[in-house]
């Protein structure tokens, strides 16, 4: 009887994390569970904005990792999150379906796509895409911006949906994070964006105020920031 209940009484750590962190955090979660026997970690992966809405409406979580500083600033401003630390950087890149049917080899070639799918401006990847295309329009002229805009077929609400449309061949090109492109293993080809036109996506992490497992939450954040944690993130394409 005692043994059974000791086994059942595992500590449950809940981590809310941006969609683009899925693969890296699942790896980190496994090593965290090994380091803390009796702890079980459960992840909620979604668009950063969607996760923020869930926390604002009372979802119980211990740790929050966002794909942009804006989301965690808003949570801290509302008194829902403690101090945030940047733990990773990600680079937006262009992806095209394997075989590159539209013949796109650089950012300047984007108007060659017949159909583009981008992130909605409400989510971080969409906001970064807007900034990249604005910078590109300044460089390549307003006709570039107008041409790209006319090719946009859909504004998806998280980055994995954007990627899926390219992997299916439904979109000729899209802008996603380098890490997502790596995760799709061969279904897409990656084209880098010139650094002077690109943005750097910063990922902050914070313990949430009133976290049910505050101690474990701090331990998880420490793991993410540790050299071992950083190595896992680097393996998944984060900088």
């Amino acid at each position: 009887m005692g043994a059974c209940c000791a086994l059942l009484a595992v500590a449950q750590l809940t981590v809310f994390a941006a969609s683009s962190l899925r693969d890296a955090f699942q790896d980190l979660g496994r090593s965290f569970e090994q380091q803390h026997p009796g702890t079980s970690i459960s992840f909620n992966f979604a668009g950063s904005q969607e996760l923020r809405t869930q926390v604002e409406h009372g979802a119980r979580a211990d740790v929050f990792a966002s794909a942009d500083p804006r989301t965690l600033r808003a949570l801290a401003g509302a008194g829902l999150a403690l101090e945030a630390q940047v733990f990773a950087r990600n680079e937006p890149v262009i992806v095209v379906p394997a075989g590159n049917p539209a013949g796109i080899h650089s950012l300047a070639d984007l108007p060659r796509a017949r159909r583009l799918v981008v992130g909605a401006p409400e989510v971080p990847i969409g906001e970064y895409t807007v900034r990249i295309l604005e910078a590109a329009s300044r460089r390549y002229g307003p006709a570039f911006g107008a041409a790209v805009e006319s090719r946009v077929a859909s504004r998806e609400l998280n980055v994995r949906q954007v990627l899926a449309k390219v992997a299916l061949g439904e979109a000729d090109a899209a802008i996603v994070y380098r890490t997502d492109a790596l995760a799709s293993r061969g279904a897409v080809e990656v084209i880098s964006i010139p650094p002077e036109l690109n943005v750097v996506a910063e990922y902050p992490i914070a313990v949430l105020r009133g976290a049910p497992q505050a101690g474990l939450a701090r331990a998880f954040v420490e793991l993410v920031l540790s050299s071992a944690g950083q190595a896992v993130l680097a393996r998944h394409g984060f900088q």
Partner: protein, 262 residues
């Protein structure tokens, strides 16, 4: 005593279920101040979404009613295995989750899809266009109309059909002038259910038609998009949908009660 306990159980069930069903709808309205509603109604996503929802659901309704009536009439007039098989096929979309329907539509009509690859060679691209929204809505809403139409057509008195035919009316004229008017209340109720379903369509549209303001972003998708940034706007949009659906429900109730009186 036993019957009183039975009454109490029914009353308790009514109280519980009715308040549970009403609470979310009431909360949408009650937690929104007038100013917030006005701001939400001016949200740039609202007008294009309303316009798109109305035009696409009207188009899909036309498709469903015209084609569905012919199919339902044939099924109602034929017994046997083929008829039952066709009836089952027309009911299939009602049991498929909409997200699955969306993936299926993409794999069928997408660029590399079974039929889409053929269309692509002839310069026709359907996914992520307004016609894709209409197809998604037609797919998910057709079963509701067809089911109601079959039931209504089966209630038409066989003798009246026979009389019309003896008096020299062609089968088409008999269908149009006898069967359709006699089945009108059932057909209208089915059409209203079908329309409500396509107005509320979300999953299949999001996956097959994408999310682009003015082209494929219908009202439910606009609510979902607004949730990402502005909960107030999402609630105002949601209220517009509730009002539209409630209006539809009232029309439906009135028509079905007229049908009963007739």
């Amino acid at each position: 005593m036993r019957s009183r306990a039975w009454d109490a159980a029914q009353l308790a069930a009514i109280g519980l279920l009715v308040s549970f069903l009403l609470l979310p709808v009431a909360s949408l309205g009650l937690t929104l101040s007038w100013d917030e509603l006005v701001t939400g109604l001016r949200h740039p996503l609202l007008l294009p979404a309303v316009r798109l929802s109305l035009t696409t659901s009207a188009s899909s309704l036309t498709l469903v009613v015209v084609l569905g009536s012919l199919v339902a009439w044939w099924i109602a007039r034929h017994a046997g295995r083929v008829s039952r098989l066709i009836e089952s096929v027309t009911q299939l979309p009602a049991v498929i989750p909409p997200a699955v329907a969306g993936v299926g539509l993409l794999l069928a009509f997408g660029r590399r899809g079974l039929f889409g690859a053929f269309l692509e060679r002839h310069g026709i691209a359907i996914p992520f266009t307004t016609p894709a929204v209409v197809l998604a809505e037609t797919f998910v809403s057709a079963p509701f109309f067809i089911q109601a139409a079959i039931a209504a057509f089966r209630r038409v008195d066989e003798n009246l059909i026979a009389v019309a035919r003896t008096l020299g009316a062609s089968p088409f004229r008999t269908f149009l002038r006898v069967a359709v008017p006699l089945s009108a209340p059932g057909l209208v109720a089915g059409a209203a259910m079908s329309w409500a379903r396509s107005l509320g369509e979300f999953g299949a549209t999001l996956l097959f038609a994408g999310n682009l303001t003015g082209r494929t972003q219908t009202l439910p998708l606009a609510v979902y998009t607004a949730m990402e940034s502005d909960l107030r706007a999402a609630r105002a949009l949601a209220l517009v949908m509730v009002a539209a659906s409630f209006g539809l429900l009232l029309v439906l109730r009135r028509m079905s009660s007229e049908g009963r009186d007739a």
